[in-house]
Amino acid sequence: MSTATARAPAFRVNGWHRAGSIALLVYVVYASAQMDVSWERVATGLHNTVRFLGRMFPPNFTRWELLVKGLQESLEIAVLASALGILLALPIGLCAARNLMPAWVSWPMRLMIVGARSFHPVIVAIVFVKAVGFGALAGILALTVASIGFIGKLFAEAIEEISLKQVEAVRATGAPFMGVIAFGVLPQVFARFIGFCTYQLDSNLRNSTMVGIVGAGGIGGTLFAAFQRFDYDYVCAILISIIALIMLGEFLATYVRAIFIDGLSFADLFRRRVGDLASRRELHLEDD
């Protein structure tokens, strides 16, 4: 008996994992053959890319008024869609949480969230352009739908993971349902909710530069037109501006998270920055 246990392998070989990995490898080889990917095509592609990049520089900012107008509209679309989306996702996510709501409430809400998540924002934007016409409104509505889907789903999941002991204690005080939500549920998920919201704002900012391609407002329309007219230097100017906008958004999101989640004030943030710099300098001195 004891010799048999001593000889048992330390790790069991999982045949299914092995078979799955081999099948994946075989499929990748098969698919590349189907797609007619060859070194020749990659080589000509690289050549084209170099020529294309060459025509993009130097970037051309002469039509900056159009650029700024487009960026402004994108920013408006992103902010309004985020605000509207967050406002709607809060009750929808709450109602979709299966540990708080009976099945007849949570299932319709979950279906709604699945619906909102099924299509890419650009596809939703096409539908809204048909419904409300060209312009920013279609973009706002499309990104609102995307925000509801994303925040609603993650918020509901966060609520399903909360500690029910804390909720039970608040219920035991005789608190009404909304009181239990305000004191027992939301405090447990608030930080994560802020996280989801800032992430979605970031995502909306990126998508708001794209919905313009299908006529739903924002810088995307300008970008698409420049591409079609082969104004590659103007395309480059637009791309640089978009990168700047996204970076600004990221920066803001970091600050919003620091303030809401870590409870820091602006003064704290400033001090932390300065403190970081100071400690970095000290480290540097020690190195010398």
């Binding site: 039970e168 204690a169 005789g174 608190a175 004191f183 405090p187």
Partner: protein, 249 residues
């Protein structure tokens, strides 16, 4: 005050956790419920404020049968029953003050609660209660920054904020060290005596129960097998409650 009659509870049909419990609790005094793990002490206490729904029987409190109350009336009744938990069950991410004011949620409108606009007298009382439990100056600390003993003090303070006419405590000292356990029991019983309200406490620790309780209820297999003052709790009685005798030596 509180009168439990023929109370039974089974989570799974045919496997009762509580069987035909009869218990009368007077308008004051400390009642400790002792018994082995899994014998239904926690279930019994939770049936009283219906955090667990009883299967049958009646629980009369302030002249009404809690078991039959519809939801809204049950919430009204719960306001008068404070509860202290084994793992404190504070809302971790809220401040001590917010946790205390959670005890007033049954009395203020949800709209005010969402905006944290509690009446001035509630806030004044919260500061008083903090003094009583020995946590003056902790109002703005977050609950998750406190030690176990401090947390249980907040748990007691939250229950007291309800101005309850009955206190329930479910293993309030099981997560604490022996010294802190005694301090917490002292605080709980002092508050109860001072306010003249009855307390029902589930306990693991027989010695602690004997020291602080006026009355001991022994449970085994979901039934009450002993009910009397601490000095009548002999070894023979402990044997019927916990079974075996080797541990008594």
């Amino acid at each position: 005050m509180l009168s439990i009659k023929h109370l039974s509870k089974s989570y799974v049909a045919g496997k009762p956790v509580l069987t035909d419990i009869d218990l009368e609790v007077a308008a004051r005094g400390i009642t400790a419920i002792i018994g082995p793990s899994g014998t239904g002490k926690s279930t019994l206490i939770r049936c009283i404020n219906r955090l667990v729904e009883p299967t049958s029987g009646s629980i009369e409190f302030e002249g009404r049968d809690l078991v039959m109350l519809p939801r809204a009336a049950l919430r009204q009744a719960r306001r008068h029953i404070g509860m202290v938990f084994q793992e404190y069950n504070l809302v971790e991410r809220l401040t001590v003050m917010e946790n205390l004011l959670a005890g007033r949620l049954g009395y203020v409108s949800s709209w005010r609660a969402w905006r944290r606009k509690f009446p001035a007298e509630d806030i004044a009382r919260a500061f008083e209660v903090l003094d009583v439990v020995g946590l003056a100056g902790f109002a703005h600390q977050r609950a998750d920054s406190l030690s176990g003993g401090q947390r249980q003090r907040v748990g007691i303070a939250r229950a007291v904020m309800q101005q309850p006419s009955l206190l329930l405590a479910d293993e309030p000292t099981s997560s604490l060290d022996p010294k802190t356990s005694v301090e917490i029991m002292q605080l709980l019983t002092d508050i109860a005596r001072q306010r003249g309200i009855p307390v029902i406490i589930n306990m693991h620790d027989v010695e602690l129960a004997k020291r602080f309780a006026d009355r001991i209820v022994g449970m085994a297999d979901g039934r009450v097998v002993f009910d009397g003052p601490p000095d009548r709790l002999s070894d023979a009685v402990l044997k019927t409650i916990y079974g075996g005798e080797d541990w008594l030596q």
